[in-house]
Amino acid sequence: MSETHWIILGGAILTYLTRAGGHLVLSRFDRLHPRVAAALDAVPAAVLTTLVAPAAASAGPPELGALAVAGLVFMRFGLLISFLAGAVALALFRTVLG
C-alpha cells in the first residue's frame, strides 16, 4: 500500500468513528435529560448554519444576492425550487456583476 492509501484508510476509519460514535456514546443512557434533548433538537440548524455563514460572510454581492433569492423563494416554494433559483441567480449575478 502506498502512502496515499494509508491516508485514505486512516481518514475513512476516523470518519466512520465520528458517524457511529455520537450514537454509541448516547445509547449508553436510557433516558435523555431534557437539556440534552433540547441540544440534539438544535443540531440540524446549528451545524448546517456553520456551512453557510462563513461562506456568506466572505462572499461578494453576486453570492449574497443568490442567497437572498434562495431564501425568499424558499418561503413560498420550498427546498428544491429555492436551490435551483439560487443557482440560476448566482450564475446570472456573476455574469452581470462579475
Binding site: L26, A55, A70
Partner: protein, 250 residues
C-alpha cells in the same frame, strides 16, 4: 412464531419506503453533482489516479473532508496531519450520529452499523425532516436515499478525475457556491423547531468568528457547539407542539 413467511431481519417496508427515499435523493444528487466532478478533477491535479479518487469517495464519503485531504496531498505535510484534518472536517458527524440515533433505535445493530457509514449532511437533514413530519425513519427509506447519492458520488469522482480537464470555468457557472445555497435551504427547513432563530444566530456568529480567528475547518465544530450549547442552556420547555402532518414541501 405463527408466520414462518416473515424472515427476521428483513428490510421493513414500513411507509415511507425505498422508493420514497430514492425520490428524496433526487434534489440532493442535483446539488452534489457538480462537486463530485470538481473533487475528481482536483484529485487528478494533485496526482491521484481515477481509481484512488474513487476509492477515497467510496471509503470516506464526505465531500468537504475529501477536498481538504487532497488539498494537502502533494505538499510537504505529514500523512498524520492529513488524516487529522479529514477527521476535523468530519467531526460534526458526532452530533448527527447522536441525533439520528434517537430516530433509528428500532433498527437491528447491523443496519445501524451500515446506516451510520452513509450519514452525511443531506442524509441527516432529510432523516430529521422525516421524523419532524411524524413519520418513522425506516432502514429501506434511508438506504433508498443514501445509495443513489453514494453511487453517484463515487462514479463522479472517477469521471471527474479521468475527464477533469474538460470542466470549464467553474467560477463563472457558480459551482463553488452551490453548496452554501443548498445548505441555506436545509437550515430553513428546520425553522419550526424551538429556539430556531437564536440557535441560527449563535451558530452563525460563532462560526464566522472562529473562521476568522481559529480558521477552517474548526469553525464548523465551534460554531455548531455555540448553537447547541445555547439550546441546552435555555430553560427546557415541555413538548406541546404536534408534528405537522403530510408532506411539507409545497
Amino acid at each position: 412464531m405463527a408466520s414462518p413467511a416473515a424472515p427476521s431481519g428483513a428490510i421493513s417496508l414500513s411507509n415511507p419506503g425505498l422508493a420514497a427515499g430514492m425520490r428524496t435523493s433526487l434534489p440532493v444528487i442535483v446539488a452534489v453533482l457538480p462537486f463530485g466532478l470538481l473533487y475528481g478533477a482536483l484529485a487528478a491535479q494533485q496526482g491521484l489516479s481515477p481509481f484512488d479518487a474513487a476509492l477515497m469517495s467510496a471509503t470516506i464519503f464526505g465531500g468537504a473532508s475529501q477536498m481538504v485531504g487532497i488539498e494537502l496531498f502533494g505538499k510537504q505535510i505529514s500523512p498524520w496531519w492529513i488524516v487529522l484534518s479529514i477527521f476535523a472536517v468530519n467531526f460534526r458527524h458526532v452530533l448527527y450520529s447522536a441525533t439520528l440515533g434517537r430516530r433509528i433505535r428500532h433498527w437491528p445493530a447491523g443496519q445501524k452499523a451500515l446506516g451510520f457509514f452513509f450519514l452525511t449532511d443531506a442524509q441527516f437533514a432529510e432523516a430529521e425532516r422525516l421524523a419532524e413530519a411524524g413519520k418513522p425513519v425506516g432502514f429501506a427509506w434511508y438506504m433508498g436515499l443514501s445509495l443513489p447519492i453514494y453511487l453517484t458520488w463515487v462514479a463522479e469522482s472517477y469521471l471527474g478525475a479521468a475527464f477533469g480537464k474538460l470542466i470549464g470555468d467553474t467560477h463563472a457557472i457558480g459551482i463553488d457556491f452551490l453548496l452554501p445555497i443548498y445548505f441555506l435551504g436545509l437550515v430553513m427547513e428546520f425553522h419550526k423547531r424551538p429556539l430556531w432563530l437564536p440557535v441560527v444566530a449563535a451558530s452563525a456568529a460563532a462560526s464566522i468568528l472562529a473562521y476568522w480567528t481559529v480558521g477552517s475547518p474548526w469553525h464548523v465544530s465551534l460554531g455548531a457547539l455555540a448553537g447547541v450549547a445555547l439550546a441546552a442552556a435555555m430553560p427546557p420547555k415541555p413538548i406541546t407542539s404536534e408534528p405537522p402532518v403530510g408532506g411539507d414541501v409545497p
